[in-house]
Assembly symmetry: C2
Homo-oligomer: 338 residues x 2
């Protein structure tokens, strides 16, 4: 990896993704069944469906979300230098998103969309088992284009991290590819999260192409996403596929921890059990945050996964996907010198 | 009390108050000191100060709040029939407030303010000790008038509950008095919460007049508010004052439970300790919810206070002042037949 020889950086991590405010409500399994919703998945909805579903939802909590936004907030909470690129509108939720991500110390300067489409929102239904089912109206995210990619910022980040969900809004994949090109030209590393098994299903060939062409160096996935990528029911086959196609993979295994896979090695890293878990929203995003924070500090891969587990363990104890405790403090309490 | 002989009711409780969305952020004591904020208080701010303070706040959670709105949501969560009257604007936060209070089963039909002033918001700073410090921009609440008081709804409620904060927006006190007159004419009971010791300081004479003229039958207060009402540092003197001036008082004592005071009796009702308390926002509002739910079901005064403690105990375990668990279920788990 060339980063040690590259010019100095302004950011440890820069993330690019859909800028979304979460609208969170508790529900029960009967409601999911009645609405034909697939538990644990993310589906895209239009404004009419968003309005209809909102009318049926329990009272809500609104807070900033979005996978890459959550990851940026998590890395910042570890005390690292972070930037985010994503598209909000010039409306209430857009101002909330911008306020919140800046408040935690993330640099976020992407111009807001000035008229028309509103800021994206994801209506997240949380069942008593803590599982979340997401219904996302992409709104202004559909207007993120390659023109929003600030080349200087990208080149100044040790690692850039992009979400697979960027394949959903049609123009954003060009932004993704442009960012990856700039990063590699500057000697930086590029990471992707596969985001969601249904998202993998929509864009499998393109995601495999990103890995196999070296457009992406590091891949984050959970078990379902890894299996979906290789269309296999056998986890070991999926791991073998990732080992062949990516330089580094971090695969989350829920309460069983994570698997870190390189061409040469495989590490299984367990996590401490969490007693009072409430809402799994953001668990994967925060695992990535801890892992990236560790990578940017040249921690061992095992330690990176431990940091991922610490961050994910914090996020599932409350509603919402942005940390409520200082992850830097939690890392210190676990023996890290941050 | 004449309610047993009055015509049948459509609501167990109807509450009237400032319709507010809470904007909640964690902070530390240093921030409160630097901003000259009085911990535990509510202060009124103008839009410019709201903007300035928001710019300095940590990332936020937005959820519906407002004292009387929280109390209405709590009574509904106990499975009782509830209505709310309050003024929102026709904007994003106004739609959120209306959605949330209806979603929990509260009837809310007050017309939205169509242009100009936005929906009220309270920026709530929560310190590590769980105490909340509120900074409220009243916005559309300033346009609640006597014309918003639906006489048929008021007359159809067993108990109406009004917040002392209604004295802050100039026109709302007329709405308050009109509602109390209608309720009494229909043989119903009228309750007030003193809301905040500084609010009592602003309107002491008027609040005492409400009690002494019998405009209000039942008063809710905490220790600081009771002492402020009678300008005494001696709690017993404040209790004696309330005993003389009100038919029924319920005084919350934080972790020591509550005192129920009538002309004839005083009951001290302890509460179970809460391990994992996070945010005291809404504790008083939810105590009132449990107490009113009990009163409307003709429970003993002691049981009413126990129900208040159950509701307050739920609300302080999480951010935000609307219940996240079913209070009806919690009441049943505590032996109540709801």
């Amino acid at each position: 990896m060339p980063s040690a020889h590259a010019p100095s950086t302004r950011f440890d991590v820069l993330t690019i993704g859909n800028a979304i405010v979460d609208v969170i409500a508790r529900t029960d399994d009967d409601f999911l069944v009645a609405q034909s919703l697939v538990k644990g998945s993310m589906r895209l909805i239009d404004p009419e469906e968003a309005e209809r579903l909102y009318g049926l939802m329990n009272s809500t909590i609104e807070m900033s979300g979005g996978c890459a936004g959550n990851t940026a907030a998590g890395v910042a909470s570890f005390g690292q230098r972070v930037a985010f690129i994503g598209k909000v509108a010039d409306d209430h939720l857009g101002r909330v998103f911008r306020h919140d991500i800046r408040a935690i110390g993330v640099e976020f300067n992407t111009d807001a969309l000035l008229e028309g489409t509103p800021t994206a929102r994801s209506m997240i239904l949380v069942t008593p088992d803590g599982e979340r089912t997401m219904n996302t109206y992409l709104g202004a995210c559909q207007h993120l284009t390659a023109a929003d990619i600030d080349a200087d910022m990208i080149a100044a980040a040790k690692i850039i991290y992009l979400e697979g969900y960027l394949w959903d809004p049609p123009a954003a994949k060009h932004a993704f590819r442009r960012a990856a090109d700039i990063a590699h030209a500057a000697g930086r590393r590029v990471a992707i999260t596969l985001s969601d098994s249904f998202c993998v299903d929509r864009f499998r060939d393109e995601f495999l192409d990103l890995l196999r062409t070296g457009t992406v160096d590091i891949v984050f996935a959970n078990e379902a996403e890894a299996k979906s990528l290789y269309q296999t029911a056998d986890f070991d086959s999926a791991v073998a596929g990732l080992r062949a196609d990516a330089k580094l993979s971090a695969i989350t295994l829920g309460s069983r921890g994570a698997l870190v896979v390189t061409r040469e090695e495989t590490h299984h890293v367990p996590v401490s059990p969490v007693d009072n878990f409430v809402d799994t929203t953001g668990a994967g995003d925060l695992f990535a945050a801890g892992f990236l924070a560790g990578l940017s500090r040249d921690e061992s891969l095992t330690n990176c996964a431990v940091l991922g587990g610490i961050a994910a363990g914090e996020i599932i104890t409350h509603y919402g996907a942005r940390p409520q405790a200082s992850l830097q403090d939690l890392a210190r309490q676990n023996g890290f010198e941050f």
